[in-house]
Symmetry: C2
């Protein structure tokens, strides 16, 4: 999916919502496990059915599928297949390795699974990220300033020129991608820093986790994060998909997505 | 596997060699693809057969298996099953995410696949690494100073106190693990810095890629990296498994492993 299509979709349904499919076998309703061979897929199918008109992106947290062994990857593939073509898909995999290995990761997520995007970890530097580029209409989503407490440990450390490591990452990464093929992860728990991120990359999309369970501040995140093309994908995972553990979980997920959309719309004019 | 068992194994066979199973479907001999349903496993089986008395560890580069779709994970599982119990196994996965996700990655590699260790990326900080701890006789192998050119981009950047980012990573990570459950990746291409790494962590094992195709300097790496318990796992992947593309590839792999062991023995007294 290209940038124009993504922006059009946001405009069309008045939503910047990304639903995170962190589907955990230990947290899905028992009746799905009792009655279906592939309960992970059945859960996702129902969540997708009730949220697909309310979000512009789905983020698959690869850890959850991988933990199921080979059959988890089958569940992933089947779930991907039922996502409408005009919804952006994210492989939240946080990969990154030496060039010949990153090339394989790109092949996996862009070719084998045909995701629109993959999240990558920048620690190993430029030659670990470059292999993810060069695919038409595919996106690289680089960890910038993450939503967790541990972001303080290294990302927020100051370099000798006074800039934090995460800023160096964002500035360096702009060298090999641009706003048509690169996004950055910036946590909504980091509202104070979003303004600074925007001063470096006014035009890029930010993938923003941390709303909901992680306690991020939606209002400030929108205030500082929005740009002329919206420029944000606001992710919620557990807050949506596990909003109810009954057989009505799917309807509740739809309502939670709607509620988050409404909160976003309080601050955004589409 | 615990530290004592690993050291005993090194002592017993006079080897610190780790063979990297970066098994690429595009690089394995045609006859395996023509005659077997699972050519990746068949390749690994033959490599393992000819190297298992010459190495103390096998490192599976997860990217290569993942790129094959669900069947790649079956190949991985089958290959793992034929590795002798007294050989250390590494899931080279470079994972790392917020706590609840890292927990899943730990579950995947330590429980579903029963690896002895996993490589992790420290960018997201302490709470992304902690979930990998707490398993008996399992190891966390943290990226320190990697072997690729891109290690200059962020790892080698100097912080305000004059230390490089990679040193901060190593120093911080020592807080939640010790030499009985933590190793660090330090590239053999970084021989000049190994001495500095050793000044911070004299006792830890280092997993050392970069010998062979990547051009690392074996002699200096050993000179600066060895400690009283050996303290090194020297990895070679492509240099061993692809040393010959004929039907004799497995014998050639064994010879290449032998040759690297001989080079190491020139500098180490076991």
């Amino acid at each position: 999916m290209n940038r124009k299509e993504l922006i059009n979709k946001i405009q069309e349904i008045h939503s910047m919502l990304c639903v995170g499919l962190d589907t955990d076998i230990n947290r899905i309703p028992q009746f799905l496990k009792d009655n279906y061979d592939d309960p992970i897929f059945e859960f996702n199918k129902r969540i997708i059915e009730h949220t697909k008109d309310k979000c512009v992106a789905y983020k698959f947290n690869i850890a959850f599928y991988e933990s199921m062994g080979p059959k988890g990857w089958v569940s992933l593939e089947r779930s991907l297949a039922i996502i409408p073509d005009d919804i952006f898909t994210i492989a939240d995999a946080k990969r990154g390795d030496i060039g010949n290995t990153s090339k394989l990761y790109a092949r996996t997520f862009f070719e084998t699974y045909n995701f629109d995007s993959i999240t990558v970890s920048p620690y190993m530097g430029s030659d670990s990220l470059e292999p993810f580029y060069g695919y038409d209409d595919k996106w690289v989503i680089i960890l910038g300033l993450t939503s967790n407490k541990g972001s303080q440990d290294f990302q927020m450390q100051k370099l000798q020129d006074g800039r934090e490591v995460y800023k160096k990452v964002i500035e360096r990464c702009v060298d090999f991608g641009d706003q048509t093929n690169t996004m950055f992860v910036v946590g909504a728990t980091q509202a104070d820093y979003i303004k600074e991120v925007r001063s470096i990359i006014p035009d890029h999309f930010l993938l923003m986790p941390g709303i909901g369970k992680q306690g991020g501040d939606l209002k400030s995140s929108l205030e500082f994060g929005l740009n002329e093309d919206y420029g944000l994908l606001i992710n919620s995972s557990r807050g949506i998909i596990y909003s109810d553990s009954s057989a009505q979980f799917d309807k509740s997920a739809g309502l939670s997505a709607q509620k988050l959309n409404d909160s976003i719309r309080d601050h955004v004019s589409f």
